[in-house]
Amino acid sequence: MGGNFRWKLISLVVLLGLSIYALYPTVRYYSLSPAQREALPEEQLTKLRGNALNLGLDLQGGMHLVLELDRTGLTDAEVPDAMDRAIQILRNRVDRFGVAEPTIQPQGEDRILVELPGLLDRDRAINLIGQTALLEFKLVKPEAEAKRVLERLDRALARTGAIDEADSDFVGAQPLLTLMPFWPEMPFGGGGFFMESDVAEVQRMLSSVRVDSILPIDTQLIWGKTTESYQGYVGRVLYVTDQRAQMDGSGIANAVRRIGLDATRPNAAGVSMTLNAAGTRQFRRVTAQNVNRNLAIVLDDRVASAPNIRERIPTGRAQITGSFTDQEARDLAIVLQAGALPAPINIIQEMTVGPSLGADSIRQGTRAALVAIGLVVVFMLVWYRASGIVAIIALTLNMLFIFAALAGMRGTLTLPGIAGMVLTVGMAVDANVLIFERIREELLTGKKVRSSIEAGYARAFTAILDSNVTTLISSGVLWWIATGPIQGFATTLFIGILANLYTAVLITRMIFDVVTGNRTMEKLSI
């Protein structure tokens, strides 16, 4: 036991100190009761949580999304900063949504990773993130003109025989018009009213022909966003509007949810928008020139509402009403204010874990880990007696170092991460098994205890090194391809193996040296 031993001891003390330092915030944070957390000053709590080991989305519940920006509609000039703008806008939306520590970052050239830990309302988040929120104001065609457009479309559909005879109750000269219960009356102004049950059929008909070539110039058909009812009939309106937008959402300075914007529905929620200077000017011009016409407020190619312009509006205030729930109005205000995404996004990967499953995973993962550790400990004690204790000390330190390294690297503990630790428990003893079996062999040849230990460590080392390096290689490759929770598995496995080389080889040797150092031991409990 010379200088070598001293250095080992110093390294152990330093590593233990670092581990305790790295783990202190974690232990403190998770041992606080919710009430105690409330009591802490906000800044201190944020700092504590930031330094504590994070639980992965699969353990605390939450949402992992990969979005793809659909750049097909963009011009070459728009492409370069479309991603940055999309990320900025998503960040604005998510910040207002109130998620603690969201992650929003680019992945590759057209993908965005969004992680919302602890989120409970999946549908709301999808709605908030997924919508483009492209707001446009388009004039609805006057009733007479809309009527002519629908008739023209009807004739075209009849000619092409677009209607599927087997599929429809109405086979005749007027496939489209017969589906409108009030035709030729138009209860909603410049648009056709269809029964909700027929909407799918109408959409199918429209997609069977090239609507663009049938419609007159600067004319577009846009469905209403929500259902309307008229004389007891529930249905949806297909608006006939200009193709050209009078203005878009870039003129909005501020948007808030308001109750009672619509006099006919005093309890309904809507969104009230304040326009900026340019928006106000535009809106004033549009309203002045089109008094008595209907202005469709089009959100992502659906008409949210189409109010009548009664007079010129100079104030720069506009509002969207419709059948929104309170929550929907709130979220619409958020997305309108955050701005429209530069291009539509598609959700190409989603992983949402509800809080119950997360709690289950923590419980089951912990149970499996405890059982596994218990079994391995018992096995090692039965097999190696007192030397088994040495291996168990090494194992305990190994676990401590894994947790400390994860916490120190601001890492995340996931369920596969726990699995990685459990497997590390099983595999980490290998190094000690190799050494102990070797020591036994040496003892059998009649060597003394001290020299058997010495030879055991020396001879087992190459096998330990080579076998650990190969496991490092395969877990490294896994870390490289994996994302999310599985990456957590690779991380814990990797750290576990590194820690294992230290604990199972150096630390156990130290213990043997201490135990056998001061006296001549005749027998070794192994």
């Binding site: 793809e68 999946r122 190409i348 874990v353 149970r367 459990v422 497997l423 190969t470 496991t471 490759v477």
Partner: protein
């Protein structure tokens, strides 16, 4: 001293042809199974699709849930009951139109279930959806990861041992990986990302096991220079046998604990690990070491000729 395998003298190498037969038979069964199933059954991670797990307050039969899913507009839904719980897993092909109708897929399913069974609650435990394109990318990546890691292992072992040892070891690992895939095919289980993680971990573990034997061979080749190669291999395997069994046991205890008590989410991963540990232990003796012997024989035959 607690020992079971001390001082064994089993002639492993003389029985190697028997075990070649076993391995080849297992591989053939796997190939037949994979062909019969029309390829490996890919989970949504790779094939794309939607997976929804619901927790029901009362147990409903799989048929019942299937017909309710049909009523909700998902006639092709695959339903699976989760063991020891009322949870159900519902797999539906991904249709972008599903989410644009205003009501989410999981809500439509939950409504269909609760409206037919008043008083029953259906809680969303998890929902995963993956587009076919990104799924294909992930599958390709996983495939390359396995090949690259086999390649790196080949290089490392070739560098640390003789090349023919490396070849034997890597063929043994490929054997293990294929065996797990075959096991999943025979029991019609899905290959998912966690299963691929298990494949890579098994690759590391199995190589690990092989290396311990090879390390002893490397040492004994120097000591027992006059002994035939085959005997050196047998002696080395016997000397490391108790370590092989002990480490296999502790690792298997850990992975079986995960499979039995770790819950649904990591069950398949843990099963793949457990199968892999057993096969990996077998293959390090009967495939890796035996192949090293065959390669040596082939080299000797060539040298004579």
């Amino acid at each position: 001293m607690f020992t079971i395998f001390a001082d064994t003298h089993i002639n492993f190498m003389s029985k190697r042809r028997l075990f070649y037969g076993v391995s080849i038979a297992a591989i053939l069964i796997g190939v037949v199974s994979i062909i019969a199933h029309g390829g490996l059954r890919m989970g949504i991670d790779f094939a794309g699709g939607r997976l929804i797990e619901l927790r029901l307050s009362e147990r409903l039969s799989v048929q019942e849930v299937r017909s309710l899913a049909g009523q909700a507009g998902f006639p092709t839904a695959e339903i699976q009951a989760v063991r020891e719980s009322n949870d159900v897993l519902i797999r539906i092909p991904l249709d972008p139109a599903d989410e644009t109708q205003g009501v989410s897929v999981s809500d439509r399913l939950r409504t269909a279930i609760t409206s037919q069974h008043p008083g029953l609650t259906a809680e969303l435990l998890r929902e995963e959806s993956i587009g076919a394109k990104i799924g294909g990318e992930i599958a390709r990546q996983a495939f390359w990861a396995i090949l690259i890691s086999l390649g790196l292992l080949l290089i490392y072992i070739g560098f640390r041992f003789e090349p023919r040892f490396a070849l034997g070891a890597v063929i043994a690992v490929a054997h293990d990986v294929f065996f797990i895939l075959a096991y999943f095919s025979i029991f019609n289980k899905e290959i998912t990302m966690p299963v691929v993680a298990a494949l890579l971990t098994v690759a590391g573990y199995s190589i690990n096991d092989t290396i311990v034997v090879f390390d002893r061979v490397r040492e004994q080749l120097v000591r027992l220079r006059r002994e035939p190669f085959e005997r050196v291999l047998d002696i080395s395997i016997n000397q490391t046998l108790s370590r092989t069994i002990i480490t296999g046991t502790t690792t298997l205890l850990a992975s079986l604990s995960l499979a039995i008590w770790g819950g649904e989410v990591i069950h398949d991963f843990a099963v793949a690990m457990s199968v892999g540990i057993i096969v990996g232990t077998y293959s390090s003796i009967f495939v890796a070491t035996a192949l090293a012997l065959e390669l040596r024989h082939a080299a000797e035959a060539k040298a004579k000729a």
